[in-house]
Amino acid sequence: MAAYILRRLAGMIAVMFIVATLVFAIAHIIPGDPAGVMLGPSATAEDVAALRTRLGLDRPLPEQYVRFLGAAVSLDLGQSIFLGRSVLQALGERAPLTLLLTGMAAALAVLIGVPVGVLSAVWRGGAFDQAGTALSMVAASLPSFWIGLTLIEYLAVRWHEFPVAGYGAPGAGLLEHMRFLVLPAIAVGLPNTALITRFTRTSMLDVLHEDYVRTARAKGLHPATVVIKHAFRNARTAVLTVIGLVVAGLIGGAIVTETVFGLPGVGNLVVSAVLRRDYPVIQGALLVISGIYVLVNLGVDLLYAVLDPRVRY
């Protein structure tokens, strides 16, 4: 197992190396001089030259590349051009919101999607299954922003149950922050709930036909034991795959979500950095987001190995 983890970590480093190379390439392949683009058409030649020197853009490309990689490894992502602080600091301020929102949306999707999917499979064709199927179809086809705007309109604007937008005062407690994130989490969580429900249902239907489920029933076990201990145990690795995809998708989708709901998270940071051509922030954010993505994948694979004794390390 330890060797397996080491091997996977090595693979992860290789992936991050490729990501870093791409991130570096993006800034340099795009036509035009980054310094000139950042400062805009009204900048003087001296200002541009000064920024080029500050960013190291006057160095030969290979040297820039090596420096960039070195900086990335030591998590020194440079200084933001506009925010007046380091990229790492800017990310650190924004990351809790993005992670909290992702966590809440994923928790909603898993806590509702998995049980509903399991019960739909068990009661296949029954009223619960049909209602669940219809509702997930609706939930999966509604765009998140529409759900979000509707929730805001009713729960926030008309009934004042939840805040309309924002994230609460910077020093507010976790619960207060979570209150601000409830509506966005529902908006992005619902389509994913539908996804997890459908997938859990399908995996459970496959498993419920297996011979070992019949064996479990032949032992006289309670139906709940048969379903949870014998059937779901075998469906959960498949369900885990979708959960991994959902979480990864939520992180990648943070850019859209945070823009729609006006939330000051990492996604929001990336959008404003792109608009202002704040290259160090763009590069740093891409690296960190990819890193989290890769970590989620690694986590899923390690869980597989823990959950299934047949997985070869």
């Binding site: 011979d211 070992y212 019949r214 006289g220 299934d308 004794p309 047949r310």
Partner: protein, 334 residues
């Protein structure tokens, strides 16, 4: 035909499958009984309704599409008689695995790949015998030793994928017999195994049966196996029992043309059982679909002796001598 000493009496069992408009009569009026310690072999080609009969007794068929429409399965266990078909699901769960246990054909897929072998044996012991976790685990190891699994303590902590097919079937047997059931239903328990392993598993089942004084319903399509385990034999064809009698009567003096054909197609050399082609009965034609049973005798379309009277009415089971009976109007001429 009710036997007062019977442990289980299956009386006119009818199980159908409804799929859309179609009704498949998979088991169409099967009756037999079994006494404690006795082995009845249920024999017939694939598709004749043997597994459906077995699963009907356990009430393990998926409903729908399955439906048991008749008539009674009387289980006379420990002085109380009950009709399994009228029990609630909850009452039935107290019988499954405790008083009637089952071993299936597919040892490779019948064990849960994500639970240890020990746990799969122990869970039934905890449920039905009320054993503690530790006591059940210990008893599971004893059972593994009893079914001749070497190094049972280590094995009990392993997962099924580490075991061969024969070993897994031993585990299934250990799990089935943990609560000393009165009746064991073994549905083709050796069909998926190598010949040498088949012999070992049969021997194991026989010795355990004697030790526990357990009745056994042994389902097989292999008459070679029948001669090794059965006290009595019921030959099944297209959802009906066409001939029943003692092992000697069926194997040496069969009267039904189908039984004769089955016996004629038993390969001479035991090793030929390895070869699936040699194992298949060489009877022309095939078992009719349960959805379209021919009128009268269901074997008539494949029978060399068929006359118009055969397809006119459903033949009754006619007694020959003692317990030997045959569902054929021309049995005297066979």
């Amino acid at each position: 035909m009710s036997d007062p000493a019977a442990l289980i009496t299956v009386d006119d069992l009818r199980t159908i499958f409804r799929t859309g408009e179609e009704v498949a009569r998979a088991v169409d009026g099967v009756s037999f009984s079994l006494r404690a310690g006795e082995t009845l072999a249920l024999v017939g080609e694939s598709g004749s309704g043997k597994s459906v009969t077995a699963l009907s007794i356990m009430r393990l068929l998926p409903m729908p599409p399955a439906q048991i429409v008749g008539r009674r399965i009387v289980f006379a266990d420990r002085g109380t008689e009950q009709d399994l078909l009228t029990l609630t699901e909850r009452q039935m769960r107290r019988i499954r695995g405790r008083r009637i246990a089952m071993v299936f054909q597919e040892p490779m897929s019948s064990l849960n790949p994500l639970l240890t072998i020990g746990e799969q044996i122990a869970e039934g012991l905890r449920l039905h015998l009320g054993l503690s976790r530790a006591a059940a685990a210990e008893r599971a190891c004893e059972l593994l030793a009893r079914v001749n699994i070497p190094d049972p303590v280590r094995r009990s902590g392993e997962y099924p994928h580490r075991l061969s097919g024969g070993m897994r079937q031993r585990v299934m047997i250990a799990a089935a017999l943990g609560c000393n059931p009165a009746l064991l239903i073994a549905d083709e328990p050796t069909t998926a195994l190598d010949v040498t392993i088949q012999g070992q598993i049969l021997e194991l089942l026989r010795s355990l049966q004697q030790e526990l004084c357990m009745a056994m319903l042994f389902v097989t399509h292999d008459l070679g196996v029948v001669s090794e385990v059965a006290d009595r034999v019921a030959v099944m064809y297209a959802g009906r029992i066409v001939e029943t009698g003692s092992r000697a009567e069926i194997l040496s003096a069969p009267r039904h043309p189908y039984t004769k054909a089955l016996l004629g197609s038993v390969p001479r050399r035991r090793s030929a059982r390895r070869d699936p082609a040699a194992r298949l009965p060489a009877i022309p034609g095939q078992v009719p679909s349960a959805a379209q049973l021919p009128p009268g005798c269901t074997f008539a379309p494949r029978c060399g002796l068929a006359i118009p009277a055969c397809t006119a009415a459903r033949p009754a089971l006619q007694p020959i001598a003692g317990a030997h009976a045959v569902r054929c109007i021309r049995w005297r001429e066979t």
